[in-house]
Symmetry: C2
Subunit: 240 residues, 2 copies
């Protein structure tokens, strides 16, 4: 897979790791842009692009006339915002999670997505996985991988990391997704698999994932146990 080795990303990653490991502490200012220019041997514009990346991520706050403050933010929950695979999430947070593949076979696309512009006779791989966190079933993931460009998914890869397979093995460049979150009454299967009672609801996250070239590749329905569901978000106020 192609890796971005641009200077601005190398610098961004370096500053992030220095924040992560305490070299730059929350509440303190980073070195000024001109100092960073010398530090990294890059132009100020390149430094600024790296810092804007951190600003967007909510790691720093840029203040005109003063400098860039390191913010004190840690998020340890399921990211609805952002596209992160369960595998990446798991390894970045020591969640002690495991994945059980329940189904993996060709199938057609369900109603919800047909109503949103997906073609009626679109071929797809139906993938049903149960995420078990600390011994408790917490999330039921139902994926439809579209063919083309995905012919099939080896169950071993589905157990390990679907995104690693798509990006690494198939060379697909996953770029963006739209997501919709609602709270619903669970159906029989969801109740059984997630150990829900009659009084419980289920949190449904439905998403459509696209490649670099705007090709639709993945449809997902994610059902979360409401008591296990919690996510945090960082947002900047936009005045466009």
């Amino acid at each position: 897979m192609k890796v971005n080795r641009s200077k601005q990303l190398i610098i961004a990653r370096d500053i992030i790791s220095k924040i992560k490991y305490g070299q730059y502490r929350p509440g303190t200012y980073l070195p000024s842009e001109n100092q960073l220019t010398d530090l990294y041997g890059a132009s100020r514009e390149t430094i600024r692009k790296a810092l804007n990346e951190l600003n967007d991520l909510g790691l720093i706050q840029k203040i005109k006339g003063k400098g860039s403050i390191v913010l004190d933010i840690q998020r340890y929950t399921f990211p609805i915002s952002g596209i992160t695979s369960f595998k990446e999430l798991n390894s970045s947070q020591a969640m002690n999670a495991q994945t059980k593949v329940l189904q993996n076979k060709p199938a057609s696309v369900p109603e919800y997505f047909l109503a949103r512009g997906v073609d009626n006779d679109q071929r797809a791989t139906f993938l049903e996985r149960l995420r078990i966190v600390n011994g408790e079933p917490s999330v039921l993931d139902i994926d439809y991988l579209l063919d083309p460009p995905i012919q099939k998914v080896p169950t071993a890869e589905a157990t390990n990391s679907l995104y690693e397979y798509l990006e690494g093995q198939l060379g697909l460049r996953i770029s963006y997704a739209t997501k919709e979150v609602t709270v619903e009454k669970p159906n029989v299967e969801q109740k059984k698999l997630l150990n829900l009672t009659d009084r419980d609801m289920v949190v449904a996250v439905r998403s459509m994932t696209y490649l670099d070239d705007t090709t639709l590749v993945q449809l997902t329905e994610s059902y979360h146990r409401p008591d296990k569901f919690k996510f945090t978000d960082f947002a900047r106020r936009k005045r466009i």
Copy 2:
């Protein structure tokens, strides 16, 4: 209030309105960066900064070697991602919503936020508002406006638009917020105000809002009727 009249924002807004009004249609390419450079009489870097803004918002997809495609995305629901006031949301979507101010008085900060670093004897204005959409109570908003910098909130302003008051009248520059979403059992007050039954749950959105200079100004607990709750999100895959 200071308005940003930078060239790159003017250009971004202009292209957005051209997308909105169909001059640039979903699935088609925008003019190339060089053409836009001529069109707006700006340098290519300035054009690129405007386009990157649209890219982040999910309005276009930039493709190296080809151009920028207009994406087909519309979101008409409650934005958890992003900081948008209810008033802005209402006017941008013709929601037919009204706001009822239930309480507006000095108070102390509740447990949840104390546990997250807010000072114990922090003074605050307690503001409780019910949002009624199409005649149905849908959201219960509970705000704590911190003093300083907010001494009090006129109830007229709380009914109209809190953010207009904070940004316009008080000149505060709201910059970013952290949010946390969970699904909970409602308490007695929430049940009564939102017309919930014993079987219902409530969606809780708790957020902390900060100014440009990282000053904490607003704590919010937002309780949504689960059947009225629905939000959509656009996310780009980040590999940092």
